[in-house]
């Protein structure tokens, strides 16, 4: 891969990130706000104490002063203090990151079954398999994940009692090692399944149409003429050419892993980034939202960068552009 291509893409990603930092800061300050008064309503605190709290939350001084302080903090990896809890935003996000990567990562991998299904359905376009798989995908794709979540929770947890209602592990659990791992798996089953079902249709539909586009290509005819079996033609010649749109979809979805799944995490009380976002919006906890937006944007930018670089590898024609 050409060095120029890589440098161009990396610089592009970094400048997008810089834009996000600036935009992010001013977006949350469009309305002139001072949450300190409402947070400590009725406490009879002295004005000096309120000033001290404003300083702590970087709410004193002009917008420009606040921005300079924000960027300086950011360069030191400091995202400020959450209004709820007075805890560093970076710590709160750090704690929520792993549960989210675990849940959304697992469900994304589960949903990737859709890619195989899509390729096969596209290859046998119009067959009974295609019709069934496509109908299933359209159905799951059109169902909102919060709705599937509520139905699953109501049926499998509340009614049948097969799975816990929410959380990452049993209440008060001190399990460690493999029993902790199993406990987490038990708790993750329903939310992962819900997210997997919600995503699978999208993969399936994209993979199917990418496959259909390759069906009439000459190189497939040539492969058949050489006497290759159909299965081999599909796997060795059709699939690699149908891969590009799927790669970009997967990359974007992997970027969203850091964004968590707000609806599903909230329904299942999963202590990840999605739940943290929901709670921050409910506050509203601006420093927390600001940190989360930055993380989510950075995740998507990074995933896109990886997709761009992968494109270069998969389709060398891109390098010349």
């Amino acid at each position: 891969m050409r060095a120029g291509f890589v440098i161009r893409k990396v610089v592009g990603a970094l400048s997008t990130l810089a834009f996000v930092v600036v935009f992010n800061f001013f977006l949350f300050r469009i309305v002139n706000r001072d949450p300190v008064n409402s947070m400590f309503r009725g406490r009879n605190l002295k004005p000096e104490k309120l000033e001290e709290l404003r300083r702590k939350f970087n709410l004193d001084g002009s917008k420009w002063d606040q921005f300079v302080a924000y960027v300086r903090q950011l360069l030191h990896g400091d995202l400020g203090y959450s209004l709820k809890g007075s805890r560093p935003v970076a710590t709160v996000i750090g704690e929520a990151l792993w549960p989210t990567v675990l849940l959304v990562g697992t469900s994304t991998l589960l949903a990737m079954i859709g890619i195989t299904l899509g390729y096969r359905a596209g290859w046998r376009r119009g067959s009974a398999f295609d019709t069934t798989a496509t109908s299933f995908s359209m159905l799951t794709y059109s169902m909102p994940e919060f709705w599937i979540g509520m139905v699953f929770l109501g049926f499998f947890s509340a009614k049948l009692g097969w799975f816990p209602v929410g959380g990452l592990e049993d209440p008060g659990s001190h399990a460690s090692g493999l029993s902790k791992w199993l406990d987490e798996l038990h708790h993750m089953m329903l939310p992962a399944l819900v997210l997997g079902i919600a995503y699978v249709g999208e993969y399936m539909i994209v993979a199917r149409s990418a496959m259909i586009e390759t069906l009439n290509e000459d190189y497939l005819q040539l492969a058949r003429a050489k006497g290759m079996r159909e299965d081999e033609v599909r796997r060795r010649h059709a699939v690699p050419n149908a891969r590009l749109p799927v790669v970009s979809l997967s990359a974007i979805n992997f970027g969203f892993i850091f964004g968590g799944a707000i609806a599903v995490e909230s329904i299942f009380s999963w202590p990840g980034i999605g739940q943290a976002t929901y709670l921050a919006v409910r506050g509203p906890d601006l420093p927390m939202l600001q940190g989360l937006f930055l993380l989510i944007s950075a995740g998507v930018i990074l995933a896109n960068l990886v997709a761009d670089l992968l494109y270069g590898k998969l389709d060398p024609r891109v390098l010349g552009r």
Partner: protein, 600 residues
């Protein structure tokens, strides 16, 4: 060959994983079976996480529950009626001028880590919280000076007469733990030390998930009957109720109102609408701070009375509050109901649209152009009131729908704006509103809430908002406030407070819509000994001093424990895992075969 060996390697690994999984499950079940007999756990579901275990930094209700359990106070409050009873101090005496109190602590007190709890801990907490203005202490300790006379005796002097004394309900902190953090910025201390003097102390906090408190063997009343309390966070109220019904949790706090109503009358679950004096009010701008642009009609007492008469509080209580709470139209100044006055019948401002119309007609507020909206006397500005409500409240929309309709019926139009709490605080500070709907929750002593409506608390500088959010005050109210603030005779003080609340009611700057209640529920098959504070009307959890937890006893065996058997869900998980692994093995074997055929 390459493909084949890869496939076989994965197949072997997968088989190994399957065997490993089955073995692990065996051990998990075994360890699970041991737990219930040895640990009695109370699990409480809630929707709000701790903000901080640090009592100088946190401010949310959930954190108060932690501190109530972790830190004992010099004097305690009776569960039934908030009467002052001995706590860490077994006795106290007052000087003749009522400015100095001497407390003697119980003998043999220890912190949960075994260190002795002395008069020096008490004096240090009071003096340091005053000097450093700790947010949850300074309202009580601002005028106090404490001196440890000896190991067991502490003398507390107040610089002004204070009717709240001898009550000393501030959390006493262990000096040997907090002295270090207090030397720097104490609010940044994580406070996960779990050292306290109350019945339970913090063992672990998993933010976003739960926090666990364990029994304190050194608690002065003795070790609690339950071993640990787990506070479990649910983001969604419906999920929390499902967990209660399933038995995953033993009790739930802040149950969504509709589900609360549905659960009423069940045999296996008790619902509690716990009142602590909190109320919802419709406030009108009194404009005495000279800021903003409130509607001039609101300066007229008759207009405020007309607004009060236009509102059907009975219907609001039934349809919006779902009859959870109490119908009461006066300020709630305390969690203790003794401070609530009864308003004489001839002064009540009940629903009476005819009276409202009459008052407005008599005042000259007529609809001269026939558009359904009245105008100021002599024509001119219409009676269109800006109506502000909170986006954070689930009841705002319901209240607005009904109230604006009723106001329209008496010729008052409204323009509705929805704000979050931060924005609404700013709007109120600037005086740029006519009506808003919000609420307050009082402490046990009525003084703080009463203080909000004094002239001192009217905002005159937008940059420094104060608490008198209706911008109304009077000399008569202020004089009564000062009198009750220094009145040491309890019955006389109650009478003064009743006069203040009645005066405030009659001025109708606040139309109190109803008194709210905390919606809680607990299972009847796990624990007994639930205490409402105050008796009969208060909540069982998250009450003022949270006496329930120490009083609870498990019912029968297996309370609060996990099931011994492997759950169906776990079984499904294993079967699904097995199917996936077998499928993967099959897939890779097929694939390696097909590749081998192809090469051949």
């Amino acid at each position: 060959m390459k493909g084949r060996s890869w496939g076989i390697a994965i197949a072997v690994a997968a088989l190994g994983a399957l065997i490993g999984t089955v073995q692990v499950t065996g051990s998990a079940t075994a360890s699970g079976a041991e737990a219930p007999g040895s640990t009695v756990t109370l699990t409480v579901g809630l929707q709000q996480d701790l903000d901080s275990p640090n009592v100088t930094a946190g401010y949310l209700v959930s954190s108060y529950e932690l501190w109530n359990l972790q830190y004992a106070t010099l004097t305690d409050k009776a569960a039934d009626d908030f009467a002052t009873i001995p706590g860490l101090a077994e006795e106290w005496t007052a000087s003749e001028d009522g400015l100095t109190y001497t407390y003697t602590r119980r003998d043999g007190l220890k912190w949960s880590d075994g260190e002795p709890l002395t008069a020096e801990d008490v004096a240090w907490t009071i003096n340091t919280s005053r000097d450093q203005e700790w947010i949850n202490h300074s309202a009580t300790t601002a005028n106090l000076t404490a001196t440890a006379l000896d190991d067991r005796t502490v003398e507390i002097t107040t610089s002004v007469p204070d009717p709240k004394l001898p009550i000393m309900d501030v959390y006493i902190l262990p000096k040997h733990i907090w002295e270090g953090p207090a030397a720097g910025d104490i609010t940044t201390y994580e406070a996960l030390d779990g050292v306290g003097s109350g019945p339970f102390t913090l063992q672990e906090w998993k933010p976003g998930q739960e926090w666990t408190m364990v029994a304190n063997p050194n608690y002065w009343k003795g070790r609690p009957a339950i071993d640990q309390v787990v506070f479990r966070l649910y983001t969604e109220g419906g999920a929390m109720v499902a967990a209660l019904e399933n038995g995953e949790i033993d009790a739930a706090h802040d149950v969504p109102a509709d589900l609360f109503v549905e659960m009423q009358g069940r045999d296996d679950i008790v619902t509690i609408a716990g009142e602590q004096g909190g109320f919802t009010e419709l406030a009108m701008n009194g404009m005495q701070g000279g800021l903003g642009d409130g509607h001039p009609a609101l300066l007229d007492l008759n207009v405020r009375h007309a607004v009060a008469h236009a509102i059907n509080r009975d219907e609001l209580f039934e349809r919006v509050a779902l009859s959870i709470g109490t119908q009461r139209d006066t300020l709630g100044v305390s969690a203790n109901t003794e401070w609530n006055p009864e308003i004489p019948e001839d002064q009540q401002l009940n629903y009476d649209p005819a009276a409202a119309n009459q008052l407005l007609d008599d005042g000259g507020y007529l609809d001269t152009d026939g558009d359904g909206v009245r105008e100021m006397p002599g024509g001119g500005q219409k009676l269109i009131f800006r109506y502000a409500e909170r986006s954070e409240s689930s009841q705002s929309a319901g209240i607005r729908e009904l109230v604006t309709g009723w106001l329209a019926e008496v010729g008052i139009s409204t323009e509705v704006s929805v704000y979050d709490d931060t924005q609404l605080t700013d709007v109120i500070a600037a005086g740029e509103y006519d009506i808003f709907v919000w609420g307050w929750t009082p402490f046990v002593d009525p003084d703080p809430l009463l203080s909000y409506f004094t002239c001192d608390q009217v905002t005159t500088d937008v940059e420094s908002p104060l608490y008198n959010d209706a911008n109304w005050c009077s000399d008569e109210y202020d004089a009564l406030y000062v009198e009750q603030n220094q009145e040491l005779d309890h019955a006389r003080r109650v009478d003064l407070v009743h006069q203040m609340i009645t005066l405030f009611h009659n001025e109708a700057t606040y139309v109190v819509l109803y008194h709210d209640a905390d919606t809680q529920a607990y299972r009847t098959d796990r624990f007994e000994g639930w205490l409402r504070q105050p008796a009969g009307v208060g909540p069982v959890l998250f009450s003022n001093t949270s006496p329930t937890y120490f009083n609870l006893r498990p019912i029968g065996a297996g309370s609060g424990g996990e099931d011994d058997d492997m759950s169906t869900g776990m079984l499904i998980l294993l079967i699904a895992g097995g199917v996936v692994v077998v499928g993967a093995i099959g897939y890779f074997i097929m694939r390696s075969r097909s590749r081998r055929d192809e090469k051949e």
